[in-house]
Point group: C2
Chain length 167, copies 2
Amino acid sequence: MSDTVDAIMDAAERRIRVAGYSGFSFREIAADVGVKSASIHYHFPTKSALAAAVAHRYNARVVKAADDAIAAGQDVINAWKSVFRSALDDGAKMCLCGSLGATVGDLTPDVAHEVRQFFNAVIASLIAGGLSDERALHVLSALEGAILIASAQGDPAIFDRATSDLG
Amino acid sequence: MSDTVDAIMDAAERRIRVAGYSGFSFREIAADVGVKSASIHYHFPTKSALAAAVAHRYNARVVKAADDAIAAGQDVINAWKSVFRSALDDGAKMCLCGSLGATVGDLTPDVAHEVRQFFNAVIASLIAGGLSDERALHVLSALEGAILIASAQGDPAIFDRATSDLG
DNA sequence: CAAGACCTATCTACCAATTGATAGGTATTT
DNA sequence: AAATACCTATCAATTGGTAGATAGGTCTTG
């Protein structure tokens, strides 16, 4: 993978997490990276292909971070709590899939599919950690909601208070 | 209030709750209502003025619905749970302020202010109902997250399962 | 009461800017 | 020479927003 591809995906992820799918443009990403917008089309044919690739990478990275924390001995709820919490740290940013999923009607099917896969992966991880179906859904909802509120209010500490009685 | 103004706000609310702030255009709203886009500018000078007005109306309506349920004797958590749940019923739609708040970087300050006011109003209502600060934040997060996941997955029953152990 | 003035709500027509996307050229590397 | 990775230039469509006209209602005033 080239440097440029990574930089494009980094910039796209950053912007999606702040402003959503329709909240970024190829030219903004290009300016962030220091290339021209046509160069982004060279690597990603369409906007939805870029967003889907970003979501796919995000899913893998976040699930791996949780898996690592669990493998290191942390209990499954606290593992996921700290994964979500650390997403807030740089710039009070939303969960990528929360940001996309909140406006699911604005997404192409491929992007929506990645978003749903993320939610399913988190639930599966929580269930694998011993939680019931309903409890897993509740924990995912509480984390996704807490990051949404904290991000909208611009105050990461809200996340901590909203999730203090979770784990 | 004229019929047209209501129809414009109804259409805008519907579209924002499905696709977010950047997910609707004046011409789409105009087509929904059966007028021309210039007529919308007559009633709402800018896009953000329309969105802010829609959010303001939504906040008042939703808070009143919860207040009524509480006044009718329902406990505060179940009152808010049923208010959020009923939002899902017509078309698996998001909470308006959740949809807007998830992409807060895409909003003008006036719209962002309405969104924050909604969250604060829900928290205040929960605290007035006897909950601690942290518990109120947790309930709001859980409801907002549950409606997000259920709406993204297109399955309202997910909301029920995610919130079954809340009240 | 009649007439002119004003207000409301809509329209047609347009604008500048931005959008995602394409075509075709140009270095650099393999 | 062929592939890679970028560029310039451009396109058609869409965007939020504006200008100006028009039809109909209401108010004021002689």
